[in-house]
Symmetry: C2
Subunit: 357 residues, 2 copies
């Protein structure tokens, strides 16, 4: 049955399975996301798509995507039918990109299954952006899921391809497989020890990009970073996967080593920082979303190091999602101005943390 | 029986009766303190007192003060017999002045009753400084107590007086009655609303001095201010008392008005500030004494405004005393370096606040 973003709040796993804690290396790798860029043969690319043709692409895809029996909870939503709050909610869930939510115009849509963490954006930078999201470090399993989705859509839609280059895309960096693997890393110890710049340098040398919490064009907040491959042209899927899976364990070990060092040598300073963050989250009456992420980042580190045994990691992960602006407003059941939102956010965080004692 | 400063920790009212909450206007007037400056006839003033004469003054007074039957717990302590920690403890209790504790040398002593909140400093700026301390705004009652002490000492000791000027003192501003009334005010709302400068101006015009937490030569911390008369020459005791008691209710009303305004118009901002302070005190693992006083100041305001109903004001007043450096070390049972002190302070504050839930 089709599901509205509003329905998400009725379910107990309201922050989504991709915030579950059972992914590999979940103490450092929050999520893995993979996307494929695809275009429909016979239509101009997004940049040259006039209004009528954009509508035609959307109708063409709507008809075919809806026919797929992807999941029981699958839904096809036109952004024009959603409130701006619902659109922002999809963005905050990483279900749609910042561009689709805020930058682009014309007929845009998203086809998705919340339970399977699958989504297909229509009329993003490319006609189609297929995406799958999962907890922890799990690129192989996710890639399998995404390739299956790709094959099923490909059976219904004629993709724009070139015999030599592979899939054709709006931006040349995506030509070939159109694959991007993005891993959201939580690197508080590397930020704290000021080694994070070295991570950027190392990633750059490996042709990996490092971006902020919400991906392209967003800034770093709360020690969360998205690491992803930059160029797909001339590289096979296996090669792209290998590029990321080769580097990732090194970054994870690096962060883990620094955490161990800080834990051992600056025990009390670390504990103080973590408990202060907890104390403010547990008692404040007004809080911006940026402060919430920053404090939750410290608390998350505390949970991973066993310093806050009463707090489940899953709750912290959930609060990272649920304390964002659109979520706070949908929890309140109405649109709120900035100040009321900061009050509602503090109230919500306080209550959820109070439940764990 | 004579009592050592260490014994104070064995008693339940460890912070002293003067931190009780039942004084008039205790929400704003923390304590009232009155002192009299006296010198012994036949000895040079402190500035011209050589080592031998200073010893003679001390012996002369020791013999006579010890004979007074002031209180069951009275004690005569030579500073030379105390550890520097014990001396600092007496200072933190406002039992002796900063000058007696840290600045002056030679044979100094204090005669005191903790339960009666009376103390007599020997070889401070004057040969004798008699002092009484009480909770809230209570100058009349305290003055009576102090005049009684003065009469009893005066019956044993020949005071240096002049038929026209009255009591003679080291500093001309104290000549006459040698009386100083100091009131410790908690003015967080006036500080917050930036009206505190106007308080300083108004006090200056009334010839009242405004000083920091520990009186002369100490700086403001945690919104606590000591207001006292400056000059005694040519003024009767009644006149001096009237000067202070006339102004005091105005300052109290001023702070109370601003508190009411803030409470009404900036409710959530106020609550946020108070609860954040509580949250940090309740959970931090390291804390300087300055931060502790600042946070306790916010919490104190919260208690007085009924925003922290679970916390007794007496506990907050007590913690203001007990979180000071010498107290923290004596609670720990040993001398601590700066960092260990900050850890011990945070531990102690956390535990005491946890008791109230």
């Amino acid at each position: 049955m089709a599901e509205s973003p509003r329905d998400w709040f009725a379910s107990t796993d309201s922050a989504g399975d991709w915030m579950a804690v059972d992914g590999p290396d979940h103490d450092i790798v929050v999520t893995t996301r993979i996307r494929l860029a695809r275009n429909v043969a016979g239509f101009p690319f997004r940049a040259r798509l006039d209004a009528a043709k954009a509508r035609a692409v959307e109708s063409h895809l709507a008809e075919r995507l809806k026919k797929l029996e992807l999941a029981a909870d699958q839904a096809y939503l036109r952004l024009a039918d959603l409130s701006s709050l619902e659109t922002e909610l999809l963005f905050e869930r990483h279900c749609i990109s910042k561009d689709l939510a805020r930058e682009l115009d014309g007929p845009r849509a998203v086809f998705f299954s919340r339970r399977k963490n699958l989504s297909v954006m229509v009329n993003e930078e490319d006609h189609l952006r297929l995406q799958v999201l999962g907890p922890g470090r799990s690129p192989e399993a996710l890639l399998e899921q995404l390739c299956d989705l790709d094959a099923r859509i490909g059976a219904q839609v004629a993709y724009a391809t070139h015999p030599r280059f592979g899939h054709l895309t709006s931006c040349p960096t995506n030509v070939g497989t159109g694959l991007r693997i993005s891993v959201m890393l939580h690197l508080p110890a590397l930020v704290w020890s000021k080694e994070i710049e070295k991570v950027f340098d190392a990633a750059g040398k490996m042709k990996l990009a490092v971006r902020g919490y919400h991906g392209e064009g967003t800034s770093y907040v709360g020690d969360f970073f998205q690491v992803s491959n930059q160029v797909t042209l001339g590289k096979s899927v296996d090669r792209l996967l290998a590029d990321v899976t080769k580097v990732l364990p090194k970054l994870v070990d690096w962060e883990r080593d620094v955490r161990r060092g800080v834990r051992k040598e600056k025990t009390r300073t670390l504990e103080d920082r973590i408990w202060r963050a907890y104390g403010v989250l547990r008692h404040a009456r007004r809080m911006t979303s940026t402060e919430a992420i920053e404090l939750l980042s410290s608390v998350r580190l505390g949970v991973c190091l066993g310093l806050l045994p009463q707090l489940p990691l899953r709750l912290v992960n959930e609060l990272l999602v649920l304390s964002q602006p659109a979520h706070v407003q949908l929890l309140a059941g109405r649109e709120l101005d900035d100040d009321s939102r900061d009050l509602a956010r503090a109230d919500y965080l306080r209550k959820r943390l109070a439940e764990t004692g």
